[in-house]
């Protein structure tokens, strides 16, 4: 069947594969529901007509390689080879290879059986073994083109690394990994309004739906030219025998029901469904579609965040906090949901899609000017969804981005969360804050600075698994902090600490259910009164997890407060009130020990000297308290500032040695 809507991306694929063979990875990249699969199917149809290329298609649904994938691919390739042996007929161009169980039964008789068997032996989820075996099979049987729909990042990476000269992989995928790995990328953009109109007309004609010509343009506009929505509506009209007229009555009703029904009724159940199931994908993609359109401001009125959040709550994915189930910051909720999904299920890519799509609410809205109204709309949606009594009045939203190369506004403070792998574990995480100095800084340079700071933190943290370079960090989440001097700053810090808590919970949980032995947090605080409380809250979280007793925790808290007060005063003494003068507080805790380091970039520290604006009558007691309550105190000062390092040990069980994490005890033989 000819495509209802000819697209230039199809022509591009035709150029690449129409008459030649291009080994390596070619990606069809685009956001969900832009027609990537349709393009892949068109290419598949075209390749099946080429006898010299054995072709197979695999639908991964953003899942790891499922059981039976190798057999499915083998069967398709075998059918192509058997068809190749047949003499060309008069209708050869229209003929297709036919899958045959009988031919699979005869597989063992082939001379190249060993290569087939190697492929068939590829275990479920073993993408590396699969591609290696497929490459060797291609070397035996001639050019092979594998088409992969909804490829995972892992598949993209392995396909790209496969250097088999007779193997080509064409993968439909979303996200930056496609651009990173593919030698050629066919970008699938949104349909234009004109293309949407043509598609609506073509679909209606194809399905025999009575269609008022005048309705085409408003229909396409109402559906934001989304091919999935357009197709779904026309199919529904065909089933119902309803004409599509210019009033758009059917369209409006159907789309509203579809959105509400999908999101409202199915989401919680779907999360309990089998990974890769149609229901699960449907909902996740709907979420993506909804937010994509929200970002594009094509779906004005109802942004459905309330539905999404309610369903996240229903599915147990929303965050319980002081304000009830409602997350206090939407990006944090998004990130939480995405990480939670990635952690509990094998649907990292789906979660990443969801994350990316929801992020579009902040980033794809047409640049800087659109952000503020969009945020207000999101806040409005939340306000509708949450009872007034529980709605946090000082709710605020921050921008989030996680795609390298994303430009960031300058002069602002960002919190960075980094994970070195799909599994959120303590050993693979880094959490720091970074000030973006220049206007329009790019995330790439931000991450460079991040790496620098991570390395700086190494002597303190002694964490062996902090990534040696940002190249090893697979996931970065960057959250913008609010402006300084904002009256809601303190509230935002509360929210920030909630995020820390969530993040720490995530990274502290290991796949086997055990808990990591060490927790760390880094805070950057403005040198202003009362911000020591933010540090205290973070300390309380860490101390509790480390099993610190109340007395030791209280003493550490008192010391931390005094160190922060010192840093605030002497930081101000440096004469700078800029963000660069922020106080760094590093906290680490594990069973038996709490470590704290408070640094300020101000003038060299003279113990006992009061800071500016403080009479000596009221100051000078801080270090006395610190020395009295902590087991070890080291004050170091140079031209760049002052750092107070403090250690507090506490008893934590019989037969243990305080101050050493368990793995270090084991390593040292204690």
């Amino acid at each position: 069947m000819a495509a209802i809507l000819p697209r230039r991306q199809a022509a591009r694929l035709g150029e690449l594969f129409g008459k030649r063979f291009l080994p390596g990875l070619v990606a069809i990249e685009g956001a969900p529901r832009r027609g990537k699969t349709d393009l892949l199917l068109q290419l598949h149809g075209a390749l099946l007509g080429r006898r010299e290329v054995a072709t197979a298609i695999l639908r991964l649904g953003c899942q790891p390689l499922p059981a039976g994938a190798a057999a499915e691919v083998a069967a398709q390739l075998l059918a192509c080879l058997e068809w190749r042996r047949l003499p060309p007929g008069p209708n050869d161009s229209a003929a297709k290879p036919v899958l045959s169980r009988a031919s699979m039964g005869r597989l063992a008789e082939r001379e190249d059986f060993a290569a087939w068997k190697e492929l068939l032996d590829a275990a479920a989820g073993d993408s590396y073994g699969f591609f290696a075996a497929l490459g060797r099979l291609a070397a035996e049987i001639g050019p092979v083109c594998l088409l992969v729909d909804d490829a995972t990042d892992e598949v993209l990476a392995l396909a790209a690394r496969s250097s088999a000269p007779e193997l080509a992989v064409v993968a439909a995928a979303s996200g930056p990994a496609a651009w990173r790995w593919a030698r050629q990328v066919v970008a699938v953009e949104e349909l234009t309004a004109r293309e949407g109109t043509l598609l609506a007309e073509g679909l209606a004609r194809h399905l025999g739906v009575e269609f008022c010509g005048e309705a085409a343009q408003p229909f396409a506009a109402y559906c934001a030219a989304d091919p999935f929505v357009l197709s779904s509506v026309v199919h529904a009209a065909a089933l119902a025998g309803t004409p599509l007229d210019s009033t758009l009555a059917f369209v409006r009703t159907y789309v509203a029901d579809l959105r509400r029904g999908t999101l409202g009724a199915y989401f919680p159940a779907v999360l309990g469904a089998q990974p890769g199931s149609l229901e699960r994908r449907c909902v996740l993609e709907w979420l993506a579609v909804e937010h994509h359109h929200t970002a594009a401001e094509k779906w004005r009125g109802r942004i459905l965040l309330d539905d999404v959040l309610a369903n996240l709550a229903g599915a147990g994915l929303a965050v319980a906090g002081p304000a009830g189930w409602m997350p206090r910051r939407w990006p944090a909720a998004r990130d939480w949901a995405a990480l939670q999904l990635a952690r509990t299920e094998t649907i990292e890519s789906e979660a990443a899609k969801l994350a990316t799509a929801v992020l579009a609410a902040a980033h794809a809205a047409g640049g800087e000017l659109a952000r503020e109204p969009l945020r207000r709309r999101i806040a409005g949606g939340l306000a509708e969804a949450v009872p007034a009594a529980t709605f946090p009045s000082r709710l605020r939203f921050c921008e989030v981005c996680e795609v390298a190369g994303e430009p960031l506004p300058g002069g602002e403070l960002f919190l960075c969360y980094g994970l070195t792998g799909a599994q959120p574990m303590a050993d693979s995480a880094a959490l720091l804050a970074v000030a973006v100095a220049g206007p329009g800084a790019r995330l790439e340079s931000l991450l460079d600075e991040m790496e620098h700071r991570v390395r700086q933190a190494m002597p303190f943290s002694e964490s062996p698994a902090i990534p040696a370079g940002t190249a090893g960090v697979e996931k970065w989440v960057v959250v913008r902090e609010p402006e300084p001097g904002d009256a809601e700053w303190a509230a935002s810090h509360d929210a920030q600490l909630l995020d820390f808590e969530r993040f720490n919970q995530l990274i502290a949980a290991r796949p086997d259910g055990s808990v990591a032995a060490r927790w760390e947090t880094v805070l950057w605080l403005p040198p202003e009164a009362d911000f020591e409380l933010a540090a205290v809250r973070a300390l309380d979280l860490l101390a509790e997890r480390a099993g610190c007793d109340a007395q030791a925790a209280s003493q550490a808290r008192a010391a931390l407060v005094e160190a922060c007060l010192n840093a605030f005063e002497h930081g101000r003494a440096g004469g700078s009130q800029s963000r660069g003068a922020s106080i760094q507080v590093r906290l680490a805790a594990w069973p038996g020990c709490i470590e704290m380091a408070v640094s300020n970039p101000g003038a060299p520290f003279a113990p006992g000297r009061a800071g500016p604006g403080q009479s000596s009558l009221h100051r000078g007691h801080g270090l006395k308290i610190i020395h009295a309550v902590m087991d070890q105190v080291i004050v170091s000062s140079d031209l760049h500032g002052t750092t107070i390092r403090m250690t507090k040990k506490f008893p934590y069980g019989e037969g243990r040695t305080a101050g050493l994490p368990e793995h270090e005890q084991a390593a040292s033989g204690i």
Binding site: A529, D530, E532, L533, V536, R537, Q551, S554, Q555, R557, A558, V561, E562, L565, Q614, L617, H618, R619, H621, G622, K624, I625, A628, V629
Partner: protein, 105 residues
């Protein structure tokens, strides 16, 4: 751990000041003003109740020294009551307990 709030109850020349929240610099100033006010109104016995004081810092404690000095000048009796253990430790460290009775909860 919010800002310090004070509530005072006066009866027969004696006053009880209830501290609620974080005794820091601003809280210390507030407390000192309140105590001076009570002393100027003739109170000759002051009790500072720390039962609901969430935390204190050294600057806040330094204002307590001012309160102690004011009470001494006015020949008023001063007592700190319901002082949590962690706060009492700080009082000890900074010499408060040598100047004023400090009672535990």
């Amino acid at each position: 751990m919010n800002k310090l709030r004070l509530e005072s109850r006066v009866r027969n020349g004696s006053a009880v000041v209830y501290l609620n929240g974080y005794l820091n610099e601003s809280g210390g100033e507030l407390l000192e003003q309140e105590c001076r006010s009570l002393l100027s109104r003739g109170c000759r016995a002051l009790e500072l109740d720390f039962a609901r004081a969430s935390m204190v810092n050294s600057i806040g404690i330094s204002y307590l020294l001012d309160v102690i000095e004011s009470a001494r000048q006015d020949d008023a009796r001063l007592e700190f009551v319901s002082v949590p253990e962690d706060i009492r430790l700080l009082f000890e460290l900074l010499g408060i307990t040598g100047h004023v009775p400090v009672r535990k909860p």
